[in-house]
């Protein structure tokens, strides 16, 4: 065999990942991080009295005084902390407890599939459904009245919009427990769970106790970031808090949104200060959480080393699991309530089901859901597509540079999820206006990518890294260039996680409320903005249609994410999912 001259040049020896990595980094920094920082800066300036557009030019602390002086500010702050931190602690406890109880007792893939509707349904849709379910005149009350309760008219009970924010906490739980369960499930995939459990049980620990004492301490570090994201979200949620939370005063995020929208434009200044407080609340809560982690770790170590075997019957775990199941059942019922309303005509107290049915809203063009669904699809597909390409470029850049992710890069990606939206959206809007791109679909897509990209990265990073490097080395040894390795080996093998990441990204896009509202200038009406707008109206049937669509679109996305790889790889046992 003769010597064949080299096809490449010496220059190729330097990993070309640098260029790709640099390009992606610049894109992410300029496209995602800088706008957020600029938006934050605008807001912060306004918080200290500088917003030239409304004639405020002098630095001062007046906005802060005005903020502290606003009625209900202290209560709003307290409510935010109670609901945000409370929901996070409870969601984590329920998810962990349920996992400890159910792990090994039920099929993981079946469990994950059952979670899908709750994961896919946007917060607003679930909240609307829950509000109807729980209201004193709601579905639950209707099912048991008047025969069981004796209520001829609905009781005057604060089951929704309650002053403590319990309904809001419940709403957050319905959404966050499934999310954390999913995160825990995927983290478990990285641990030798079976072997460790077997070892612990051989030492006389019951199944649940072994889980809590052996597996939980290993899982927690892997899900810490998602927990922070859940907390940041719970502390700053707007749509769900409008629909389920207390209203007089509301939680801080809603109060800030209202102040931004007050007829008196001077309110923008204290509103900006409120937005800064919102950010500070998240930072403080995370710091508090870290302190809490330390304490738990210390106490936990003592508890672990004492060697208690716990009760065989696991009463605590059973209780926690029962609550978790109840929470998720409520979520499913809430979705069912929406579906029923969407085809109801008259449904009055105390009927358990509508007295008359009608498809009118579905077929009435006046409801305009077609346009909103179109806008939702456009924004969702575009922002998911852009995010997916960015994520693939980022991960491929890491591969080519043959290095893992630095901490700062990780922080950069997740920044949009940890910074409260209200903290930078107003400022960002002013920035977009200057660039002349506000009030249109492009601005909405851009703003959505800020939030879709991190979730796509979360969903894609693990499977990408779990890809056997020897497969890629084999391809290289067979002469495949980096691009061919990406197109012909990595992407096809990763089709399933790519589809999952796309479905998650699409669901995140569909759920976006504030970014769509602010950046679209109200002109881009998606199912979510319409559903939240309509939720302040009187027609549950129309709301039902929007909310059902809003929940259905992401669900279709998840379905496609399961079906597409199964269909494409139906003749490939290694990829069709049948083996795993």
């Amino acid at each position: 065999m003769s010597v064949i001259p080299a096809r490449g040049s010496v220059g190729h020896a330097i990993p070309d990942g640098r260029a790709l990595r640099g390009a992606v980094l610049v894109l992410v920094a300029a496209g995602l991080v800088l706008p957020i920082l600029a938006g934050l800066a605008q807001t912060a300036r306004a918080a200290f009295g500088v917003l030239p557009s409304i004639g405020a030019r002098d630095w001062s602390l007046d906005p802060w005084r005005a903020l502290l002086d606003l009625p209900g500010f202290a209560t709003s702050l307290r409510l935010t902390l109670v609901t945000g931190v409370g929901a996070t602690v409870l969601a984590l406890a329920l998810a962990m407890g349920f996992c400890a109880f159910a792990h090994g007792r039920m099929s993981q893939s079946l469990g994950a599939r059952m979670l899908t509707p709750l994961l896919a349904a946007p917060h607003a849709a679930l909240a609307i459904g829950l509000a109807f379910l729980l209201a004193p005149s709601g579905w639950i009350a209707r099912m048991i009245s008047p025969w069981a309760t004796g209520w001829a008219v609905p009781p005057d009970l604060a089951t929704v919009h309650d002053g403590w924010g319990m309904a809001l906490i419940l709403g957050l739980l319905v959404k966050e427990v499934p999310f954390l369960l999913l995160v825990i499930l995927s983290a478990l995939g990285q641990l030798p769970v079976r072997a460790h459990l077997a070892a612990a049980r051989a030492l006389g620990y019951g199944r649940g106790v072994a889980w809590v004492k052996v597996i939980l301490p290993q899982v927690y570090p892997l899900i810490r970031l998602p927990v922070f994201i859940v907390m940041a979200f719970a502390l700053s949620v707007v749509d769900m808090a409008i629909i389920l939370g207390p209203s007089n005063p509301p939680v801080l995020s809603v109060a800030v949104v209202r102040w931004f929208a007050a007829p008196d434009v001077g309110m923008v200044l204290p509103a900006s200060a409120g937005a800064v407080v919102q950010g500070a609340v998240i930072v403080a809560a995370i710091l508090l959480w870290i302190v809490g982690e330390r304490a738990v770790r210390m106490l936990g170590r003592i508890w672990l080393s004492r060697g208690g075997r716990g009760l065989r019957s696991e009463p605590g775990l059973k209780l926690v699991s029962a609550v978790a199941v109840a929470v998720m059942t409520l979520g499913m019922l809430a979705l069912a309530a929406l579906a029923v309303w969407s085809v109801a005509w008259r449904w009055s107290w105390p009927e358990a089901l509508p007295e008359s049915w009608s498809w009118r809203v579905w077929i009435a063009p006046g409801t305009g859901w077609g346009r909103a669904a179109g806008a939702t699809l456009t924004a969702g597909l575009a922002s998911t597509g852009v995010s997916l390409m960015l994520a693939v470029a980022w991960l491929e850049g890491e591969d080519r540079a043959r290095m893992g992710r630095a901490g700062w890069a990780q922080a950069l990606i997740y920044l949009p999820l940890l910074v409260p939206q209200i903290g930078f959206l107003y400022g960002l809007n002013v920035l977009f206006l200057r660039l002349g791109i506000s009030g249109g679909m492009a601005a909405v897509i851009w703003a959505q990518v800020l939030f879709v990209f991190p979730y796509v990265m979360i969903a894609l990073s693990e499977p990408w890294r779990a890809l056997d490097p020897r497969a890629i080395r084999t391809a290289a040894a067979l002469g495949a260039s980096p691009w061919r390795r990406l197109w012909a080996v990595k992407l096809p093998i990763l089709l399933r996680p790519l589809c999952t990441a796309a479905a998650i990204g699409f669901a995140v896009s569909v759920a976006q409320y504030l970014p769509t509202l602010f950046m679209g200038g109200g002109r881009v009406a998606t199912l979510t903005t319409e559903a939240v707008t309509l939720s302040s109206g009187s027609d549950r049937r129309v709301i039902g249609v929007y909310a059902v669509l809003q929940a259905a679109l992401p669900l279709v996305g998840y379905g496609a994410a399961v079906l597409l790889p199964a269909l494409v790889w139906r003749h490939r046992r290694g990829l069709s999912g049948a083996v795993r």
Binding site: G8, A480, R572
Partner: protein
């Protein structure tokens, strides 16, 4: 056509090398063996030769193949094939497409199919072109993986414990299948293994790290 290592060491960039400088020359058709305990850097040595070193690792010394210094080239341009203990057939491609993956683009159309069929025939896999690789047995996979490597017309072959997953009977069979092909192609091969019988079977040089 021989593979020459001159004072080759591998280790963390700027750190201690994993083993003493290694010098060896592997003649065409010969299989040399590197043995040593786990973690000594055997596989890292193969990564360095093949061009697959992870970030933060560096290689010192010189590796030439037919007189060409391969360290200056990216993996895909070194023309050095690799076989792992798992056959690493791409799960999304059929057996035939797996084999065709390494085939030069210059081979087109009918010639391509013929080349693949011929290689399958040599591996005792005639008629398996459309099969899902996941349905092959361990021995079939190993043979298919070797044929895939050879279709890329490598100038050398790296064997990273390629037989360790196979049971004793199959092991001997696949081993001689691989070594026969190395000899037939007249290319140098470097094998890393834990197993003395593998080393003995090569009949070539054995280096212990």
């Amino acid at each position: 056509m021989s593979l020459c290592l001159r004072a080759v060491t591998v280790g963390p960039a700027g750190g201690q090398p994993l083993f003493a400088p290694l010098t060896m020359e592997i003649a065409p058709g010969a299989v040399a063996t590197v043995m040593g305990p786990s973690g000594v850097g055997k596989s890292t040595l193969l990564d360095a030769i093949g061009g697959h070193l992870a970030h933060g690792f560096a290689v010192a010394g010189q590796v030439t193949l037919s007189g060409r210094d391969v360290l200056a080239f990216p993996a895909e341009d070194r023309r050095i094939g690799v076989l792992f203990q798992d056959a690493m057939l791409f799960p999304h491609l059929s057996v035939g497409d797996n084999l065709a993956f390494g085939l030069s683009r210059g081979v087109k159309g009918h010639a391509r199919r013929v080349a693949v069929e011929e290689a399958l025939g040599q591996a005792g896999l005639s008629g398996y072109a459309a099969r899902d690789p996941a349905t092959l047995s361990g021995g079939q996979r190993a043979r298919a993986a070797l044929m895939r490597s050879l279709l890329a017309a490598p100038l050398a072959l790296l064997l990273d414990e390629p037989f360790s997953r196979l049971d004793a009977d199959l092991r001997a069979e696949i081993r001689s299948f691989v070594f026969d092909h190395v000899l037939a192609r007249n290319i140098p091969a470097l094998m890393v293994t834990h197993d003395e019988s593998d080393a003995e079977a090569t009949g070539g040089a054995v280096v212990r790290l």
